[in-house]
């Protein structure tokens, strides 16, 4: 595990590195394998303590490929420590904490400080502690622990009020039912598993994106939590694990509203847990634990990894020589399909359509170009120009709704509509675990609002002689918060009506999108 991997080469494909590591488990490198939670072999107690210096790997993306083995070690260390200090988490010295924990502690202290300021207490913790007895008497005359949590929630409320004017101003009136993005609050969640805290931070900073990646990351993290959980003396493992997992789930919900597919996974997990509880004769703790962990592994393998491979096989039937395929954004399944098509030696071209602000298509472009596929790249606004020579459109999905509509990255509906107008078939690749039992008729009822500042982040453009913009160095809206009457809306998902979709490729076959509820019933 040497950190001498090429940190500067932009074409170093993270998926390839991950594939080498788990060559035994998955023959095809799926792009939802993220480098943040590289699946480590569950070795324990063998990692040396000298991996502290890897703390900066999490920051730089370029060196993350080299950092992944080190992060694996870090995770192992985390588990080790957590194992040792299971029931009583004492204050560890900062040197012993991992970066995530240090971050969490810092966050906690910062929030506490804000709370103190908002409550009118002096800023330093020492002086506030002197005054604390008066506050406690004023608020809740109860046990120490409850007081602390309640105080922190009161601080949170005050903090929220102070923050409210800005976020309220940015709220779009017809989207007030959706939560605006917020930073994960780690202060009141000291008793959560640190892996879940870290995962929440990854989600909120968009380090792990994509429905498959997020699902897999979440399930693996929960698997760790289950592994490490030791129930209190008066309850069995099986009955307690659900209660134990609930605050973790709530925390993740607070960082980023859960994708529909993640909700399905959690529903499945809860069903598994309740199945284990009902087992008669009741299983021992260890048996229940290992059964659950095995079930999770099984789920990931069967319904995500193997499903992707089957989808690729099914989808290959539909790609012939000389095709020009258009895809939108970055879907791990579509990427696997295109790479496999290239491997089979079929001659085809790919057009990648991308959109701001996430610009995910660039990553797909990099991987495909590295594999030697003939690619073109367009932005969404010029999709009609791109569609001139296209024979098929293949896209991925985030979830498939009961009425056959596709819930996917924002912009998918436009590409499907444009293709339909030109009578070009639209194929959606979707695993069956993404089929959900809900329906939406428009994109606004359930959606996710992203960070509005991403819209303003327009990189300086080195144009020589653009028609109307000589050289815009930054967006005109860089100070948009001071601008009155102005709101920025960063929607992340949209719903594509079923009439624009020709075909859905799943691991159980090729189905019309209106058969979605049938599949859901079969495989729930």
């Amino acid at each position: 595990m040497d950190p001498t991997a090429n940190k500067s080469s932009p074409l170093l494909v993270p998926g390839a590195v991950a594939a080498q590591k788990q060559a035994a488990s998955a023959p095809m490198s799926s792009s939802y394998e993220n480098q943040w939670l590289a699946p480590e072999e569950k070795q324990r107690g063998t990692s040396p303590a000298g991996s502290r210096g890897s703390s900066d790997t999490k920051q730089s993306k370029a060196s993350s490929e080299a950092g992944s083995p080190q992060i694996a070690q870090q995770n192992q260390n985390q588990n080790q420590q957590h194992q040792q200090q299971q029931q009583q988490p004492p204050r560890k010295s900062q040197k012993d904490m991992t970066k995530a924990e240090r971050r969490a502690l810092q966050e906690q202290q910062r929030l506490a400080k804000q709370g103190r300021v908002a409550a009118g207490l002096p800023k330093s913790a020492k002086k506030a502690a002197e005054m604390e007895p008066t506050n406690k008497k004023a608020q809740q005359p109860q046990q120490q622990l409850e007081k602390q949590t309640q105080q922190s929630t009161a601080d949170d409320k005050q903090k929220k009020k102070a923050r409210a004017p800005k976020t309220d101003q940015n709220e779009v009136p017809w989207l007030m039912h959706l939560d605006s993005p917020k930073k994960p609050e780690t202060s009141s969640n000291k008793d959560l598993h640190p892996a879940v805290l870290a995962l929440g931070l990854y989600f909120s900073e968009h380090k792990i994106v994509g429905s498959n990646a997020r699902c897999v990351a979440m399930l693996e993290t929960f698997s760790k939590v289950i592994e490490d959980h030791r129930p209190p003396a008066d309850a069995t493992f099986a009955r307690n694990i659900q209660k134990h997992l609930d605050p973790h789930i709530a925390y993740l919900l607070g960082t980023r509203p859960m994708s529909l597919s993640m909700r399905e996974c959690i529903r499945w997990l809860k069903k598994e847990i309740s199945d284990i509880v009902e087992e008669d004769p009741p299983l021992s703790d260890d048996e229940a634990r290992s059964r659950l962990i095995e079930a999770i592994e099984h789920f990931i393998r069967e319904r995500i990894t193997m499903a992707d491979q089957l989808i690729v096989q099914n989808g290959l039937q539909k790609i012939q020589e000389g095709e020009v395929i258009l895809t939108y954004g970055k879907s791990s399944v579509v990427e696997s399909l295109l790479l496999e098509t290239k491997r089979k030696g079929i001659d085809f071209k790919v057009i990648i359509v991308d959109s701001r602000p996430l610009l995910e298509g660039k990553h797909l472009l990099r991987r495909l170009a590295a594999a030697g596929v003939d690619c073109s790249y367009y932005l969404l606004s010029s999709v009609y120009v791109a569609l001139r020579s296209v024979t098929k459109v293949i896209m991925g999905a985030h979830a498939l709704l009961n009425n056959g509509a596709v819930y996917s990255r924002v912009g998918t509906a436009m590409v499907a509509m444009a293709a339909r107008d030109k009578q070009i078939p639209v194929m959606i690749c979707c695993e069956t675990y993404k089929f959900v039992n809900r329906t939406q008729v428009d994109s606004l009822v359930l959606n996710e609002i992203g960070n509005p500042d991403e819209l303003v982040d327009t990189k300086p453009v080195y144009n020589s002689c653009h028609q109307t913009h000589p050289t815009p160095t930054e967006s005109a809206l860089s100070s948009w918060r001071e601008q009155p009457n102005l709101r920025l809306l960063n929607l992340l998902y949209d719903v594509t009506p079923s009439k624009y979709i020709t075909l859905v490729v799943t691991e159980v076959g090729l189905i019309p999108c209106t058969s979605a509820p049938v599949i859901w019933r079969e495989y729930k």
Binding site: K362, L380, S381, G411, H466, L491
Partner: protein, 394 residues
């Protein structure tokens, strides 16, 4: 025909700037073209109307070919040519006493070149009425019928031979006056004419969606906001981000504005009551050449049965057809899509950055222009009124 050197220098300057795309916006281009053509009429030597027409046509051809995708140049040239011919015809009829045709025609065409200045002034201040157009078609219907029945140029055979000199003597001031009034002054009032109609198209509490930065649309919405309260959603128009500037201008004027990314257009469309866009040029079949993303916006609006209003001035009307979507498109530097820092990726990938979009006439509900409004099916009549058919190819 060689032009006088002073004029030639001006022309060369303009052509260079056109080629380098340093003249920004069709409004500026139209204005400068009109000024140059007026100079050409006044400074060059010509003995009769035909010679003048040849000079202008020649010059116009040079200007149009400097930047063929900038259709406003050609439009103004065609307008000037039509004015010249109209003036010539007006003078001609003046001369003709014993005419075969009705006094109706006579008085009409006579009144045409004298009374046309006042009506055009009136027309620009009235708010939207289709009737405001009808004043002009009445006159010009006569002239087109006139054309059908008669052989206009060269001048009618009954003309005496000494009239050409007399005409060129008289025509120059009239032509220059016409150019000043009909074209240059008209250009000044273009934005006002469109904005005046704004209140007729927007009701209270509407949600309007727009894309790109168009001064016409901006003035339209700001004028409407003085009387009505509504919200605007602006699509940001990557990669030029013109939408950001538009949003800033609108919110500064007190309009409740929301900026969305282009990909969210379909998602937000159920919420929108009207779509208002500007255009770079309007083609003879009613189609538009507009900023990239407009086709997406118009198609999404069509799918949601939302009306699409296009605010354009009449000088953007062009008597050419687009036989495919690429005819009037320009591609600009692609580094705003995939910048050069991507390094080795650039070699393996083909990137295109088209600047314009072609919007089919079926997707447009109404054109709002400075003299009223027109559905896309009426555009060919507007073109007939403003241009002569023999000028279509310069």
């Amino acid at each position: 025909m060689t032009l006088p050197t002073q004029l030639e220098a001006q022309v060369e300057n303009f052509i260079t700037r056109l080629k380098r795309r340093q003249v920004i916006g069709s409004y500026e281009v139209a204005k400068e073209t009109a000024v140059i053509l007026r100079q050409a009429v006044s400074m060059s030597k010509w003995r009769d109307a035909d010679a003048l027409i040849d000079i202008i046509r020649d010059l116009g051809g040079r200007l149009a070919s400097a930047q063929p995708k900038e259709l406003a140049v050609g439009n103004i040239v065609r307008r000037v040519l039509k004015i010249i011919r109209e003036v010539v015809r007006g003078e001609l009829d003046d001369m003709m006493d014993n005419d075969d045709y009705d006094d109706d025609n006579d008085s009409n065409t006579y009144s045409e070149d004298e009374s046309s200045p006042p009506p055009s002034k009136n027309l620009s201040t009235t708010s939207s009425q289709i009737g405001s157009i009808s004043e002009r078609p009445q006159l010009t219907v006569e002239s087109s019928m006139f054309r059908l029945l008669a052989d206009v140029s060269p001048a009618t055979p009954d003309d005496s031979s000494d009239t050409p000199e007399k005409k060129s003597y008289n025509l120059k001031p009239i032509i220059i006056q016409e150019i000043n009034e009909e074209i240059i002054a008209d250009l000044e009032t273009v934005y006002k004419g469109i904005a005046d109609q704004a209140v007729d198209y927007i009701h209270a509490n509407e949600v309007i969606m727009t894309i790109g930065k168009s001064r016409t649309v901006e003035e339209f919405l700001i004028r409407a906001a003085q009387k009505r309260k509504f919200q605007v959603i602006v699509a940001e128009t990557a990669p030029t981000y013109q939408g950001h500037d538009m949003a800033k201008a609108l919110s500064n004027a007190g309009i409740d504005t929301t900026v969305i990314v282009d990909s969210a257009i379909f998602a937000a469309m159920p919420r929108v009551n009207k779509v208002v866009v500007g255009a770079h040029a309007v083609l003879a079949n009613g189609g538009l050449v507009a900023v990239t993303g407009s086709q997406l916006l118009a198609a999404a609006a069509k799918h949601h049965a939302t009306p699409v209003l296009v605010c354009t001035a009449l000088y953007k009307l062009s008597p050419v057809f687009a036989y495919d979507a690429e005819t009037f498109n320009i591609t600009v530097a692609p580094n705003s899509i995939l910048d050069f820092q991507q390094g080795s990726l650039i070699d393996k990938v083909s990137v295109a950055n088209p600047y314009y979009d072609y919007v089919a006439p079926e997707l447009v509900s109404l054109f709002v222009h400075n003299l009223g409004s027109a559905p896309p099916t009426y555009v060919y009549r507007l073109i007939n009124d403003n241009y002569d058919p023999e000028d279509t190819s310069l």
